[in-house]
């Protein structure tokens, strides 16, 4: 109770707060349960339908599911918080570059991966790599690395959801929970349960349906929320003027980032070319033509979601500097950037129904990524670990589906427990996760364009990535400030020689891939013929 008093003094709450937003969120969760139930009626019961929806997804649903999957708490909660700290440059760091790089990955790599998946019946990315590089062992090496990199990605969603709901419900349950807010563990438990339900019901088909619905919800509610917040501050011009007066540094990049730092960020979006869950979404496409809409519209969809978030973030910085926005503090005394979006919503959305709808939109963005990642870890465990190890003939099709489901629950429990005990910046956690995937991207690119790449080269590249990634993340997060071996911390980021660590991790990966490939025996002509079927 005592911690609520300063909030009231700042004009953030008038107790008791309406719980209507939670009722709206509850209704939204029921709609998702319904959607899961309906899509389960269409589930054909086979593992192929569970894992790749029998290659039946058309252009619009592919766009919505791919876009929804790439937008998580990172895009809404994280981007707003990062813009609060680093200003408008955050859009260029991740959003506009993603419009170019993500679409390039879909166009240059995704279509080819889809064609091999369709032709040779792959269900997971590792199956493709195993065949392409003629190595069963590569699958066993990649499986724990890819599954391990998905865990921080899942954490981004769970921590983001917990922080957002905690902020927006602050003061709703005085005396029941700390600060009267729904705790992160409860939010995480509810969203994991809902997503598990619909993913279990119909596998990737349910995920695609839910993604399409949720992507539409979060895009519409994001725009509505943006308009309401702008209006609440006094209009678009007034909101930006406040920032110009009180936090003018957030309107530029000077002093907050350097051109080298900015440029090195361009490597981060390469991660989508190696996301195993995105590979699985590519495989759901009915035809290569289904990719066309995704390639063209993806940059525009990113813009529609990110521009409002960046503006809300810099407006929040202006209001915070002015002293008219309360942002909860972290243990180190810094404002919790993850909570900026919820604080802005709480301050400027007076209608509880609208708060509920907007919050459902935020959760929609988060859950539309979690579902694909859940299905993906299940698919990888079944197809890349259990079946190669114990033999495919040992399991019936139904048992394969249940193997996947069992591993999904295992990973979700691990992630859930970590999310409760190890909260950190959603944006930074996302960047570390994406950096690992980005450094593995040269393998995916070489697999479809470079005939000379060898199994040993790929092993070397994966090991170089894993070692440099682990070394840098330990240096950045595991050592006290000022005691880093390689980099320095500036503006909340860990930089090595002024650039993001991803630049050095990618460099190590490429050098190992090319160097070792050229020094070892080329792949067999059968493999080359199989994966380079057309000239050019």
């Amino acid at each position: 109770m005592s911690s609520i008093t300063p909030l009231i003094a700042l004009g953030q709450v008038t107790e008791p707060l309406s719980r209507t937003p939670l009722v709206i969120i509850g209704i939204y969760m029921c709609v998702l349960f319904g959607l899961g139930w309906i899509s389960s009626r269409l589930f054909r019961g086979s593992s192929k339908d569970f894992f790749v929806a029998s290659h039946s997804i058309g252009p619009f649903m592919l766009l919505m599911s791919v876009f929804g999957t790439t937008m998580t708490a990172f895009a809404l909660v994280g981007s707003t918080g990062k813009a609060f700290s680093l200003g408008i440059g955050v859009y260029g760091l991740m959003a506009s570059s993603s419009g170019l790089i993500h679409a390039a990955c879909f166009f240059l790599v995704g279509i080819r991966m889809w064609s091999f998946g369709k032709k040779y019946g792959y269900v997971t990315q590792i199956q493709f790599f195993r065949d392409r590089f003629e190595s069963k062992g590569l699958g066993y090496l990649l499986f724990p690395i890819l599954a391990g990199l998905i865990i921080p990605y899942l954490l981004v969603g769970l921590i983001g959801a917990g922080t957002y709901i905690g902020g927006v419900t602050r003061g709703m349950f005085p005396g029941t929970f700390a600060d009267g807010a729904v705790p992160g563990w409860l939010t995480g438990l509810v969203i994991c349960s809902v997503v598990l339900f619909y993913v279990f019901s119909g596998g990737v088909r349910s995920a695609v349906w839910a993604n399409t619905f949720q992507t539409i919800v979060f895009m519409i509610m994001g725009l509505v929320g943006f308009i309401v917040i702008a209006k609440g501050i006094g209009g678009l011009a007034e909101a930006s003027e406040l920032t110009r007066q009180h936090a003018p540094e957030k309107l530029v990049r000077e002093g907050l980032m350097t051109p080298a730092h900015f440029m090195s960020y361009m490597l981060v979006p390469l991660s989508v070319g190696m996301f195993p869950h995105l590979f699985q979404h590519w495989l759901t496409a009915k035809s290569a033509k289904s990719f066309r809409l995704t390639v063209i519209a993806h940059p525009l969809c990113i813009m529609i979601v990110w521009v409002p978030c960046i503006l809300i973030g810099i407006w929040g910085a202006g209001l915070f500097a002015d002293g008219s926005l309360f942002v909860p503090k972290l243990p180190n005394g810094e404002p919790n950037a993850n909570a900026v979006l919820s604080m802005m919503v709480k301050k400027f959305m007076v209608n509880p129904v609208l708060i509920g709808l907007f919050s459902a939109g935020v959760l929609a963005a988060i859950m539309s990524s979690l579902d694909s990642q859940f299905v993906c870890v299940g698919s990888m465990f079944t197809n890349d670990f259990a079946l190669p190890l114990f033999g495919s003939e040992r399991f019936s099709d139904t048992q394969k589906v249940w193997l996947g489901r069992g591993f999904i629950v295992f990973i979700v429990v691990i992630t859930y427990v970590i999310s409760i005990f190890k909260p950190m910046s959603v944006f930074n956690l996302g960047i570390w996760c994406f950096s690992g995937f980005s450094a593995l991207f040269p393998i995916a690119f070489a697999a479809v364009y470079w005939k000379r790449v060898t199994t040993a080269g790929v092993f070397a590249s994966v090991i170089a990535t894993a070692v440099t990634w682990a070394l840098f993340i330990h240096d950045a997060l595991g050592r006290a400030a000022g005691e880093q071996w390689f980099g320095v911390k500036a503006h909340g980021e860990y930089l090595i020689a002024g650039v993001m660590p991803v630049a050095f991790i990618c460099l190590a990966s490429v050098v190992a891939l090319v160097g070792v490939s050229l020094a070892t025996k080329p792949p067999t002509s059968e493999t080359i013929d199989k994966f380079f079927p057309v000239k050019g």
Partner: protein, 76 residues
């Protein structure tokens, strides 16, 4: 035309590094910081160039190959 498309994509990668208004905080239309406005336009330009790529650089050969004959995979 394919070469033009690839040339435009490289140009897009170059003009992403807009150091020329790094410290310009001017507000376009009274509310949009210039750097953000430029990168929003950049997103639109990227969509335009990708539309050109789909029209003139589409990998029809690989598409035809994938859709010819039966799937080899079956129920994996």
């Amino acid at each position: 035309m394919k070469k033009v498309v690839y040339g435009l994509l490289i140009l897009l990668a170059v003009i992403h590094q807009d150091v020329w208004w790094w410290d310009n905080g001017e507000l376009v239309f009274g509310f949009m910081p210039l750097g953000l406005f430029y990168h929003s336009l950049y997103s639109c330009m990227a969509a335009g160039v990708w539309a050109m790529a789909v029209k003139w650089a589409w990998p029809s050969d690989i598409e035809l190959w994938a859709e010819s004959g039966d799937e080899a995979g079956g129920e994996q």
